[in-house]
Structure formats: structure tokens, C-alpha cells
């Protein structure tokens, strides 16, 4: 049965249904409803909720919970997401599954509490130290908040990695009709690697740390890291295709901006322009396979995102190979379908300037 739910609340409810039984976090707009919803509902459903003294403590509590095999999550936005980066790097090094939600807001530093897509680089390129990679899912609706959070927990466990869900203030704050999944039961004891006290198979105990640090496995380290990330890169790519069969101008957009782009593709088609769209669902791994198809016939890519200078556009250029790349960073406001239409027309007419 469908329900009308706010994006943040639906995400929080879906996390509980996915078996999440540990949440630690700190208030920050526009993600606070996730914290509030879980404060109210998680303890009643057998879970642990902790309001921590900082985002640092939040992510490090999640690390502890993840080490015991619990499905654990934290959420934040903007400045708070910056504080999570240290923990994300450690989660990667210890190969611990956990889900980190960033309900993006706008601007640099404190910026502003309004919606935005300013954290692409931080989420996708490794905001913490050391050069790790983390699967990043980008929902564009309340329903996808629900669907992707479920997927995020499954991916996190299957690959023993933290996973980022990159939502934004619009998706978090809007209410839409949503179908919730069946509740899943998660058994924290089902994996051998979780901390539970030493046993016959681990007579000196499990050592949950980076192997390069603990037993100086230098020669194994780099091949292991490379294999781990190339497996994820190959297996996890997800994207949505809109009108790609004969598209000459291919829009690339994710999250809230992609909803406007869908409308713009319709407007362009009505006017006879052959426009289509790739919507990356995973931002890392970026949907390379989609571009391998479109690179053969596309005349241009147009990257549309909600920040000042464009961030994802660099990946579009990277994967778009020799196809010209145009950029429409819509800044502090959601992209306007009419402006996108003008840009599409401009690209066809040769009046738009490419950025890559």
C-alpha cells in the first residue's frame, strides 16, 4: 500500500525495514528529520539510537556497531558530512559495511541550508585521506530514497564497504507517494569476521585493522586494494537511460536535477531535437558502460547539476572521451527546463561553448 511520506522520513523508515539497528548522528539541516524519526522509532523496534556530541563521534560509533555485524547508519549534510570523512576512510581500511547519508545542502563552508548538489567531489572522489573509493547511490525521488537505502545496506555487506547515499535537501524535504518494502531481519552473528570474542578459529583473536598496519602485509596491500575497487567498479554501475536510441545531445544529470532534465528531454523532442539522457544512479562507480554505448553516436554531452562551477562534468568529460562536453551548473536554484532547452538548441546551432 502506498503512503505519502517526506523523503527523510521515508529514508529512515526504509533503513529500519532494511534491518538497520544502530544509528548515531547529530542535528544538521536539511537531514535532521532522519535523526528525529530514528530517535522516535528505532528504540521501539529493537535498535539503538544515539545522539552524539559531534559527527565525528557519530561515524565512529557506527564503526564500532559495524564491527559487531550490526547494520549501522549515520546521516548528515554539508559541514557535518565533512566531519564524517575521517571515519569513512577508516571504514574503508577496515573493510566494514556501513551506510552514510548526505542530504546535500548548498555552498562552501557553512554555506546555506537550502538544497544543492555541492558534495559530488567529496562523496565520489574520496573526501577523506588515502585514495579510497566508496559506492555512491544518488536517489532522485522519495521512492528511490527507500529503494536505494535498502540496496545500500546490501551492497555494503556484499562488498564489505561503506556506502554513501547522496540525497539532497529537495528529496529530503519533499513528500511523495511511496511503497515501502517488507521488513528484513538481519542477523549480526551471521558473518565470521564480526567481533564477538575469540574462538577456536581465531585463537589469538580477530584483529580488526588495516593489514598493512597490523601484519605489515606490504606486498599484498596494493594488489588487494586494486582488485577490490576494480571489482566494485565493474559490478556496481547503475544508470537510467532516457531516449538514448538516436540521441545526439545526451544530458547527464543525477538526483533532483535529473527530474528537470527529463522534462527538458520531452520539450526538446517535441521541437524535433534529438535529445536523450543518462542518469547515473551510481556516481561511483560512474556508469562507464552507458558512455561506452553513447560515445559512438552522441554529438555532445550536457552535464546539468546544482552547484556553482560544475563537479560531475569532469567525470562526464573523462568518460565521454572525445565527445564535446557542455556544462550547465545551475547554482543555488534548481535547473530550469527552458534554460536546458535553450542550451540544447544552442549546442545544435553551434552557439554554445563547450567546457571540455
Amino acid at each position: 500500500m502506498k503512503k505519502l511520506m517526506k523523503g527523510n522520513n521515508a529514508l529512515a523508515e526504509a533503513a529500519i525495514l532494511a534491518g538497520c539497528r544502530f544509528f548515531a548522528g547529530y542535528p544538521i539541516t536539511p537531514q535532521t528529520e532522519i535523526l528525529e524519526y530514528l530517535a522516535k522509532h528505532l528504540p521501539k523496534r529493537g535498535g539503538h539510537f544515539v545522539q552524539t556530541e559531534s559527527e565525528l563521534a557519530g561515524i565512529n560509533m557506527v564503526m564500532g556497531a559495524a564491527a559487531t555485524g550490526f547494520r549501522a547508519m549515520t546521516s548528515s549534510a554539508g559541514p557535518g558530512f565533512s566531519l564524517k570523512q575521517e571515519g569513512i576512510s577508516y571504514l574503508c581500511s577496515m573493510e566494514l559495511p556501513a551506510v552514510i547519508v548526505d542530504v546535500m545542502r548548498y555552498g562552501i563552508g557553512l554555506g546555506n541550508i537550502v538544497l544543492g548538489q555541492g558534495d559530488y567531489f567529496q562523496a565520489v572522489k574520496g573526501g577523506g585521506h588515502g585514495g579510497y573509493k566508496v559506492p555512491v547511490y544518488a536517489p532522485s525521488s522519495v521512492q528511490e530514497n527507500v529503494d536505494y537505502i535498502t540496496m545500500a545496506f546490501d551492497t555494503a555487506e556484499a562488498y564489505r564497504t561503506p556506502v554513501i547515499l547522496l540525497s539532497d535537501g529537495a528529496i529530503g524535504q519533499m513528500a511523495e507517494s511511496v511503497e515501502l518494502p517488507e521488513a528484513k531481519e538481519h542477523d549480526p552473528d551471521k558473518y565470521d569476521w564480526t567481533l564477538k570474542g575469540r574462538d577456536a578459529a581465531h585463537p589469538t583473536g580477530r584483529k580488526m585493522t588495516d593489514r598493512i598496519y597490523y601484519d605489515f602485509a606490504y606486498s599484498e596491500y596494493d594488489p588487494h586494494i586494486r582488485e577490490r575497487y576494480s571489482k566494485m567498479e565493474e559490478e556496481l554501475q547503475m544508470w537510467e537511460e532516457i531516449e538514448l536510441a538516436d540521441a545526439e545531445v545526451v544530458l547527464v544529470s543525477y538526483g533532483i536535477s535529473s527530474r528537470v532534465c527529463k522534462e527538458a528531454v520531452k520539450l526538446a523532442r517535441k521541437k524535433g531535437w534529438k535529445a536523450g539522457m543518462i542518469r547515473p544512479i551510481t556516481l561511483w562507480p560512474f556508469p562507464r558502460k552507458a558512455f561506452e554505448k553513447t560515445n559512438k553516436m552522441a554529438k555532445a554531452y550536457l552535464s546539468v547539476e546544482m552547484n556553482a562551477c560544475g563537479q560531475m562534468v569532469e567525470d562526464v568529460a573523462l568518460y565521454g572521451r572525445s565527445v564535446p562536453v557542455y556544462s550547465y551548473p545551475s547554482g543555488r536554484v534548481i535547473a530550469d527546463p527552458e534554460v536546458i532547452l535553450q542550451k540544447i538548441e544552442g549546442i545544435f546551432q553551434g552557439t554554445e561553448k563547450e567546457v571540455f
Binding site: M63, G64, A67, G69, G197, M208, T209, Y214
Partner: protein
């Protein structure tokens, strides 16, 4: 007859701490208490960053190495998820009282149910002897080259006294500078672990420990310094209402 090294099953390998370092003694005490309480299969330790993390290779228990300063946060979560297990952290003073002071104090404030072991040797040991929160006034380190000057560097921090402002389940400060203090510290650790398992709540033992390498003293001079200088500022005993006893 060849001498036999007696060690609890919770200890393995040969530690690589510097001669005269207190870490080996504190780790041994934890190992003995865990073994004697019959909890070797039901204990999880959370290690800090710094010399304390070398413990990974000597303590035969399930162990996690936390981020620098964050051991208390991770341990609090582990205890919530596995309330039936004995959960402890093993941290230095730089980890628990400087970069991790928020995690330490808020664990005490929330009465998180694990035991925090804080080894206080007055310096950052692993990085080569920089000033730490507990470096004494006048003590020379690589970052307090003329000696700690309270006018610009502040007074040494008393983490246990700060923790004692919260209503915690058990709190004590011990030392490992002589046989009597080692025996007493073992009792404190045992009491903290028993309190955790029997009544619950936050428990903590701070342990004054020598670092001859970074104090630029011999092991004997180092324990002598603890007796004559360190204990005057950091008195030993169990904390209860009204101060140290």
C-alpha cells in the same frame, strides 16, 4: 632446568615496547584479569592510535583499532550492540585526553557501559616525545623545548578529575612504577571490569606509566621520577564522592 615463561592465554608473542616502558605491564594486567574472570572468549578491546596500538600483536583477544581519539565512541557502540561482552578501550593520554577528549567525556556523560583504560605517560610516545596534555610543568619535550610553560601552554590536564564530574560507575588512577602500585592497579582494573559486567555503567582506570625513551631517563630513573614528581600532580587512588581515596 630451563626457565619457563608463564603467561595467561590472553598474551602471545613478545612485545616490542622500549626497555622500561609501562605498556607491557598494563597489557599484562588486563590480560591476567580477563583470564582470571574467565572472559577470554567474551572480551573485545578497542585500541587507540599511538604506542597503545602495538597491543594488537600481544593481546590474544578480539581487537579493533579505532581512529585516533575515537576509541571511546567505537567502544560505546560495541557495548550497546554486544551488552553481554566485556568491552574495554586501551588508549594513551594523547588519544584519550587531547584529540579524543570529547569522545572520552561524552562516554562518561552518557554512562556508556565499557571500561576505558588510559595510559598516562606524559608524552606522545610513538611520534617521538612531543608535549601531550599531561606533560608536567617544566618538562622538556620536542615541542616544549624550554620545558612546559603554563603561561602559554596551560597546565597539565587531569582527565580523571574531569571524568569525576559525571556520575560514573567506577573511576580510579593507578600506576605501574613499582610492585605495590602494579598490584593495586590490577585490582582497579579488576574492579572496573567487574563493575561493568555486574552493574553496568561507565568505568575508567587511568594508569601512570613510564616512558624512559622520551623522558630521556634510564628505566630506573623513570620510575623514580614517577614517585618523586608525577604522583605529586596525579595522586593515585579510587575516585569517589569528595575526591581521590
Amino acid at each position: 632446568m630451563a626457565a619457563e615463561r608463564k603467561a595467561p592465554s590472553t598474551i602471545y608473542g613478545v612485545n616490542s615496547f622500549c626497555p622500561g616502558c609501562g605498556h607491557g605491564i598494563v597489557i599484562r594486567l588486563i590480560a591476567e584479569v580477563v583470564e582470571e574472570m574467565g572472559l577470554a572468549e567474551n572480551a573485545i578491546g578497542v585500541l587507540a592510535v599511538g604506542c597503545s596500538c602495538l597491543t594488537n600483536r600481544y593481546l590474544a583477544l578480539d581487537l579493533m583499532q579505532a581512529a585516533h581519539g575515537r576509541a571511546a565512541a567505537s567502544a560505546g557502540a560495541i557495548k550497546r550492540c554486544r551488552p553481554e561482552k566485556l568491552i574495554f578501550t586501551y588508549q594513551g593520554d594523547g588519544d584519550a585526553a587531547s584529540i579524543g577528549i570529547a569522545e572520552t567525556l561524552y562516554s562518561a556523560q552518557r554512562n556508556e557501559g565499557f571500561t576505558q583504560i588510559i595510559v598516562n605517560n606524559g608524552v606522545y610516545g610513538m611520534t617521538g616525545g612531543q608535549m601531550s596534555p599531561t606533560t608536567l610543568v617544566g618538562q622538556k619535550t620536542t615541542t616544549s623545548v624550554q620545558g612546559r610553560d603554563p603561561e602559554v601552554m596551560g597546565m597539565p590536564l587531569k582527565i580523571s578529575e574531569l571524568i569525576s564530574s559525571f556520575d560514573v560507575a567506577y573511576l580510579a588512577r593507578g600506576s605501574v612504577h613499582n610492585a605495590a602500585s602494579i598490584r593495586k592497579t590490577k585490582k582497579y582494573i579488576q574492579k572496573a571490569f567487574e563493575t561493568q559486567m555486574n552493574q553496568g555503567g561507565y568505568t575508567c582506570v587511568e594508569v601512570i606509566s613510564p616512558c624512559p625513551t622520551n623522558w630521556h631517563l634510564t628505566p630506573l630513573q623513570a620510575v623514580d621520577r614517577i614517585e618523586k614528581e608525577v604522583l605529586a600532580y596525579y595522586p593515585l587512588g579510587e575516585f569517589c564522592e569528595g575526591g581521590v581515596r
